[in-house]
C-alpha cells in the first residue's frame, strides 16, 4: 500500500499503459465482432464453424500465443493488443450472436409488419433487445483482457504487470501487492461501470 502512495507517478503511468492496451484491444475487437456476428446470423453452419475456431484460439495459453505473435508484430504493445483482440473475439461474438438470435422471430416480424426497413428493425428493435446479453459479454471480455494484459510486461509492453514481474525478480513483496491491488481495482471499476449500463437496459424492459 505504501508503495502506491509513495509512487503515484509510476502507478499512474503503468495504469495508463494497461488501460490503453485493454481499451484499444476492446474497441477494435468490438468493431470486428459486430459485423462478424451479423454475418454469422445469416448462416447457422458458418456460425458454428467460426465460433468453434474462435473457441479453439481461446484455449491457447496466453504466453504461447504471444510468442507466436512476436515475430509478426514485434516485442511491443502491438503483439499484446492483437492477442487481446483474439481472446476477446470469441466472447464478444458469441454473446452478440446469442443475444440477437434470442430476439423472438415474431417480434422481428412485428417490426417488419409495421413498416420498418431491415436497418430500422435492427437498430430499433433487435440490437436494443440483445443489448443486455452483449454488455454481459463485454464485461467478461474486459476482465479477461485486463488479466491477460498483465503478461504484456514480459513482452516489452509495460502495464501493471511490470510491477508484478519486477516484484518477483527483485523479491519486492510490496511491488507485487501494489500491482495486484491496482489490477483488481481497475477490473472492479470497469465492471461496475458496465453493470450500470446493463441495469439501464434491463430497466427499460420494465422487468
Amino acid at each position: 500500500m505504501t508503495y502506491i502512495l509513495n509512487n503515484p507517478d509510476v502507478i499512474l503511468r503503468l495504469t495508463g499503459q494497461h488501460l490503453y492496451m485493454t481499451l484499444t484491444a476492446l474497441v477494435i475487437s468490438l468493431a470486428i465482432a459486430l459485423p462478424l456476428s451479423l454475418l454469422l446470423l445469416r448462416s447457422e453452419r458458418l456460425a458454428n464453424g467460426v465460433l468453434g475456431l474462435l473457441g479453439v484460439l481461446y484455449t491457447i495459453p496466453s504466453i504461447a500465443l504471444l510468442i507466436l505473435l512476436l515475430p509478426v508484430f514485434g516485442l511491443n504493445q502491438k503483439s499484446v493488443i492483437v492477442a487481446l483482440i483474439i481472446y476477446t473475439q470469441v466472447i464478444l461474438v458469441r454473446n452478440m450472436v446469442v443475444g440477437m438470435k434470442g430476439v423472438p422471430a415474431y417480434i422481428l416480424e412485428a417490426a417488419k409488419g409495421v413498416g420498418m426497413s431491415g436497418w430500422q428493425s435492427w437498430r430499433r428493435v433487435q440490437l436494443p433487445l440483445a443489448m443486455p446479453v452483449i454488455i454481459a459479454g463485454l464485461r467478461i471480455a474486459i476482465i479477461v483482457a485486463i488479466a491477460i494484459a498483465t503478461i504484456g510486461a514480459k513482452f516489452g509492453a509495460g502495464g501493471l504487470g511490470t510491477l508484478l514481474f519486477d516484484g518477483i525478480a527483485q523479491n519486492r513483496y510490496d511491488k507485487i501487492v501494489a500491482g495486484s491491488v491496482v489490477v483488481v481495482l481497475v477490473a472492479i471499476l470497469l465492471n461496475r461501470l458496465l453493470i450500470t449500463a446493463e441495469r439501464h437496459y434491463q430497466k427499460r424492459h420494465g422487468s
Binding site: 415474431y106 409495421v114 424492459h205 420494465g206 422487468s207
Partner: protein, 316 residues
C-alpha cells in the same frame, strides 16, 4: 371500388407438399369487417400476410384500392396498413407510448402530432393515457397488451387493418370485452378490417362477411346469416354449427321478430330487452325469468312485445 380484391391468389411454400392458399378470389368492400374463419393450418395467416406482403403470393394478384399491391414499395405499403399479429408482438423495450408511436414516427409526423395521436389512440382503446403512456408491455395484463396492439395498428390512420387472432391469448370474458370494444370502434371509424380467427362464436359476432377456409381453399364467402342458413357444403355446415338453432338466433335481432305493442298495452313488470339484442339473448331471458312475454324497448321507450311463440315462428 373494393378496398381489397384477391384475384386467383395462391401460395405454395417451397419444400411443402400441400398448397397453403389455393386460388383465392374474393373482394372486400371498403369499410366492411371481414372475418377469415377456418381450422388451424388452413391458410388464414398466410392469406392475411400476403396483403401486406410479409408473404408474396406464388401466383395471382392482390389489389388495394384498385391498385396492384406490388406497384408500391413493400415498406411504404406496410406503413399504410395496420397490422395486429397473432402473438401481439409489442416491442418489450419500448413504453406503451413508444409502441403506439411507431408508425407515425416512421411516417415522419411531427413530435406534437405524434404525442397527440398517442393519447388519442390510448383513449380510444380505453387505456387512460396518463396512467398507461409510460408503462412497459411487461407491466400490462394480456388484455391491455391486446388493446395497445390495436392502438398501434390504428395510429398511422390506415384505411385497412389486418388482425391475426388478436384476442386469441386472453380469457373468455376479457375476449368478449375486447370484441365489444372493437365493434364500437369500428362503428365510429369504418375501417376495412380483415380479421382472422378460428373461433366460430367470435366470427359470427364480429363479421359483416365471413370467409370460410379449409386446406387453403375458400369454401364460402357470405354474411354470417346466409352462411348459417345456407352452408355451401357439409364442412361449412359442421364448422359453423349451422344446425345449432340457438346459434342462428344469436344473429337475428329482436326487432325483426317482435310484435307491435297491443293497443291496450300496460307495462306491469315484464322484463325488458333492447330492440338491438339478439333473439338468443331474448330466449335466455325468457327461460331464465320463467315469463312468457318480454317488452322490447328503444332506449327507455317500449316499442313492442316478444313471446316464445314468435321466436319459434320466426325460425320457420
Amino acid at each position: 371500388m373494393s378496398a381489397i380484391r384477391f384475384e386467383n391468389v395462391s401460395k405454395q411454400f417451397a419444400n411443402v407438399g400441400h398448397t397453403a392458399v389455393a386460388d383465392a378470389t374474393f373482394a372486400v368492400a371498403e369499410g366492411s369487417f371481414v372475418v377469415l374463419l377456418g381450422p388451424s393450418g388452413c391458410g388464414k395467416t398466410t392469406l392475411l400476410k400476403m396483403v401486406n406482403r410479409l408473404i408474396e403470393p406464388t401466383s395471382g394478384v392482390i389489389y388495394l384500392d384498385g391498385q396492384d399491391s406490388r406497384a408500391v414499395d413493400a415498406t411504404t405499403l406496410r406503413r399504410q396498413i395496420g397490422y395486429v399479429i397473432q402473438q401481439i408482438g409489442l416491442f418489450p423495450h419500448m413504453t406503451v407510448a413508444e409502441n403506439v408511436a411507431i408508425v407515425p414516427d416512421l411516417l415522419k409526423w411531427s413530435k406534437e402530432d405524434i404525442a397527440a395521436r398517442v393519447d388519442e389512440m390510448l383513449a380510444l382503446v380505453d387505456l387512460p393515457p396518463a396512467q398507461y403512456r409510460d408503462r412497459y408491455p411487461a407491466q400490462l395484463s394480456g388484455g391491455q397488451q391486446q388493446r395497445v396492439g390495436v392502438a398501434r395498428a390504428l395510429a398511422g390512420d390506415p384505411k385497412v387493418i389486418l388482425m391475426d387472432e388478436p384476442f386469441g391469448a386472453v380469457d373468455a370474458i376479457t375476449r368478449i370485452g375486447l370484441q365489444d370494444a372493437l365493434l364500437q370502434l369500428q362503428r365510429r371509424l369504418h375501417k376495412t378490417i380483415l380479421f382472422v380467427t378460428h373461433d366460430v362464436e367470435e366470427a359470427l359476432r364480429l363479421a359483416d362477411k365471413m370467409v370460410v377456409m379449409k386446406d387453403g381453399r375458400v369454401h364460402q364467402y357470405d354474411t354470417p346469416f346466409n352462411i348459417l342458413k345456407n352452408p355451401a357444403n357439409d364442412f361449412v355446415r359442421e364448422l359453423v354449427g349451422a344446425d345449432d338453432m340457438v346459434r342462428q338466433l344469436g344473429l337475428i335481432r329482436v326487432e325483426a321478430a317482435m310484435q307491435p305493442l297491443p293497443p291496450d298495452f300496460t307495462h306491469n313488470g315484464q322484463p325488458t330487452i333492447p330492440q338491438d339484442s339478439s333473439l338468443r339473448q331474448a330466449l335466455s331471458l325468457l327461460l331464465g325469468d320463467g315469463v312468457t312475454t318480454l317488452v322490447v324497448t328503444d332506449g327507455a321507450e317500449p316499442v313492442g312485445v316478444l313471446t316464445l311463440r314468435q321466436i319459434q315462428r320466426y325460425r320457420e
